[in-house]
Symmetry: none
Subunit: 533 residues, 2 copies
């Protein structure tokens, strides 16, 4: 542990919400803000009250209903309009009205942006900065200055960009944040420019990085190494274009790699859960390869290395996944050997050690299945069912006699574009269920039929919801005659847990049916529902 | 332009394929390799012949069927087994048999991995490196040494890790690649360690970075700044766990930010197209926020800045998107499409210049279609049909009255797992065709029915063969109720030309039918077959 403490400033709710496809409601923000507080960030920037009506409402609600354990709350706004006073500017007054203890002012710090985008003289821009900061500091608030386009501006006219910072410092701003607004910097640019600035002011410096050159996290780390102690970013790297710096990756690097204090104690160990919970609210699919918290971040497809990983996992991971609340996972792949299957079994709760013959049989069966097009590296639940069946522990919930699906289409007749499934199965003391299901498409119709047939015998099924459905054609060279692989993701609505099953076959409907029925089987089996076929 | 030239070494087909959920067939690799060559990488690593049977087959096919314009081909393998000779090791011999001009040997360079994972003495590991390299160099091949776990090893025991490199150098290895196998380094670690190594050897140095701390691109750039001239990575940042360094981002940073030579001339400007084309083959959804080539990478939710962006786009983007073949997109403005649609039309042979109203109408239609789930990036043929229809130049080959598909399954009865399609259409002077088609699956059955109905009226159809068929679920949150996108690739057996069409809808069969019929329409229209409906 070093003496370094870095203030982590989250802007998920403001700059993160600029991401394409993201549209946060007030209720969404009310759900996310407490999660950010649990993560242990130092500051939560809530939005732009006065400029965005739903942000004004959000700030009122926060003041009334939320209290944070770790974080302080910040409102974002702009320097006063040209040719006016800060006190008379309604947008500046709205910042005060927000009651946020921290006010973050964005200011032009690239002379070209002052002149061409804001259309004010360079001197008027400096006055706008100094007067707005002074006014808000005079009202007893902490003021953070976001120096927009700072790095581009500094490369064009360093003197002017520095004067913008110094104007804010003179007026009492607590923190001068250097923004790589267009995101094009590389770490060595950042190191050099931050060091220049560091030599010119004694105010706290901050970094705000975007990921356009793929270096947002590294640029944040470089800035800290050069003297910055305030870092802005967004959970899951959300943001406009390529996104802002991924705040969890930055915090994890600071704490784990540099021994700094960043998040409140215990926050980092919650980061995987919180990152995924926030993704649920934003409804943007989590990125499996996301550093530290991604589903694949500690997943090994390591045929060759499996036995070594078993002995010494630290040789194969850059940090203990538990530090960020994630887990090591072994993927069962076509290079699978007995060691990785044993390890995978252990992960799923089956002790296969010392059972050489059983392990060989399972390995053979996996190889055979993978050759036929199955994949278990993304389908843990199907692998679990395979283990149960080899261990003689596969429950029998129902018996299907037959199913049929009919799809039809009459061009120009929108009423005729649906699907209908007929299903015959036995369940519940051998009772025969003959049901029909309708749907947008054939798989949807089969899903409905299956649920109708089983609802009374296994009411738990209502908790299981299909959340994703992927189709891959395996051997493309045969065109429509090819082998199809279907992956189905199912979630338990009560626990939030989800699992993936796989089905394979030349017939896409048949493959989907396999994945579908396996997903329900797995759900029932892991909930220890008693079979009643 | 500086004097710096960096060798770009692509390992998408080997290390990239370690990604969770990726499973490349030989046909997939045969499709991806020429795309990598078009991108202009210096080296394409194809796989591990001898260890992975389908890689052995791939190397044989490459030698027979592919020739590259820019790239050299590399085979990956391991140093010889302990206690043997390189010449007697079948895995080493398989490398020679691959006929690849470049052989890349992975070697342990962390003493802990030698002892605990490989279970050999440190000295035997050094002999394994030196003798294997010497043997392959003696056979006239260029040998690249991938020093696995180099950075972790160097931090633990720098002297041993260096001796591994020097053993390879002595034996004639052309390139010593420092691998951050566990991906935990930050750029300042890389800078320091590469500089140390640079001072100890005169061989070419390389960098192989993984993204576990979110710094793979930055680490690659830091390594180049410290003296490395060979960089390994994967298109789209594919790879195990958090992935390898994103090769396009690294190359773009090298060329655009540092004026270096990296890809072959013209390659970078194709990178957006190629990155997306490769994503179509891997069937892994492209990441919208991917630097440089992502769909959102130059997308502005501009509101406040819209007019300034229009006047002076360079103030708001870190580079011209055309340099990587991407486009600036205004998320609200309709400026978005017109220019690129005009360009795309020109590419397909339609002069749309000066036809403002027509262009607006097409832009509107494309936007509407894209909002519904269509994509024309990968489906030129469907876009061509769209243009024909807007230009009033769409031929009418037949009229479908109705189709129906039936799929059924009786568990345990292998004879009942097929599909049957009934189709009614008019073609050939209004003649009515009532046909039935059978198939493995519903799309296959429809394809057969369609061909049966049309064979006599349009015998050219026999030349058109479906070669690929891809399904993607667009809105995952609705499970089996989601929107489906189907891409169909069709090839002309006589000319070898192929084209892609797209179909969209909640019903996978309906979407496939749309793509299927469009593929035949396009084939007939571009062959200027006279319509005879």
């Amino acid at each position: 542990m070093t003496d370094l403490t870095v203030e982590v400033y989250d802007t998920t709710l403001r700059d993160g919400a600029q991401q394409e496809g993201m549209n946060l409601s007030v209720a969404d923000k009310m759900t996310i803000a407490p999660l950010l507080d649990q993560l242990g960030v130092g500051v939560i920037e809530g939005g732009w009250p006065g400029a965005v009506p739903k942000d004004t409402e959000f700030f009122q609600l926060v003041a009334k209903e939320l209290s944070f354990r770790n974080a302080q709350f910040a409102a974002f706004g702009m320097t006063r309009r040209a040719g006016s006073t800060a006190a008379a500017d309604p947008q500046v007054r709205a910042l005060l009205d927000s009651e946020a203890p921290i006010l973050t002012l964005v200011a032009k710090s690239d002379v070209r942006h002052a002149e061409r985008a804001l259309r004010v003289s360079p001197d008027e821009n400096l006055r706008m900065i100094e007067e707005t900061v002074a006014f808000l500091v005079g009202e007893g608030r902490r003021v953070v200055l976001d120096a927009e386009h700072f790095f581009d501006g500094y490369r064009f006219d360093p003197d002017y960009s520095l004067r913008c910072l110094l104007a804010a410092e003179r007026a009492g701003a607590s923190t001068l944040v250097l923004c790589d607004t267009n995101g094009g910097m590389l770490p060595d640019d950042v190191t050099r420019i931050v060091a220049d600035v560091r030599a010119r002011t004694s105010a706290q410096l901050g970094m705000h990085a975007h990921n356009d050159s793929g270096c947002a996290v590294a640029n944040s780390m470089a800035a800290v190494a050069a003297g910055v102690t305030h870092v802005q970013g967004c959970v899951n790297g959300y943001g406009e274009r390529t996104g802002n710096a991924d705040l969890v990756a930055v915090a994890a690097n600071l704490e784990i790699k540099r021994g700094a204090r960043a998040l409140a104690p215990g926050g980092l160990a919650e980061s995987t859960r919180i990152a995924h919970a926030i993704a649920e609210v934003t409804n943007i699919a989590p990125f499996a390869r996301q550093p530290y918290v991604g589903a694949s971040a500690f997943a090994h497809k390591a045929g060759l290395h499996a036995s070594a990983i078993k002995v010494d996992p630290d040789l194969y991971q850059h940090t203990d996944p538990a530090r960020v609340g994630n887990d090591m996972r072994m993927l069962v792949s076509e290079m699978a050997g007995r060691a990785s299957i044993e390890l995978k079994g252990k992960e799923l709760g089956y002790d296969l050690s010392g059972q050489g013959e059983l392990l060989s049989r399972i390995t053979e069966r996996v190889k055979h299945a993978e050759a036929a097009g199955y994949t278990y590296d993304a389908a843990d639940a199907s692998f679990d069912l395979l283990l149960r069946s080899e261990l003689g522990r596969m429950p029998r919930y129902w018996a299907v006699e037959e199913w049929r699906v009919r799809v039809s289409s009459t061009p120009g007749d929108p009423t005729d574009a649906g699907a209908e499934a007929v299903l015959k199965l036995r369940a519940g003391g051998g009772a025969r269920h003959l049901v029909v299901g309708e749907g947008n498409g054939p798989v949807n119709a089969l899903d409905h039929a299956l649920r109708t047939a089983l609802a009374k015998v296994y009411p738990d099924i209502e908790r299981f919801e299909l959340t994703d459905f992927k189709v891959r054609i395996m051997d493309a060279s045969h065109g429509t005659d090819a082998i199809t692989r279907v992956l189905v993701t199912t979630a338990d609505n009560e626990t939030g847990r989800s699992w993936v099953t796989v089905g394979v076959g030349p017939n896409v409907i048949e493959a989907a049916w396999e994945a579908l029925t396996d997903s329900l089987y797995y759900g029932l089996a892991t909930h220890e529902v008693a079979p009643n076929p």
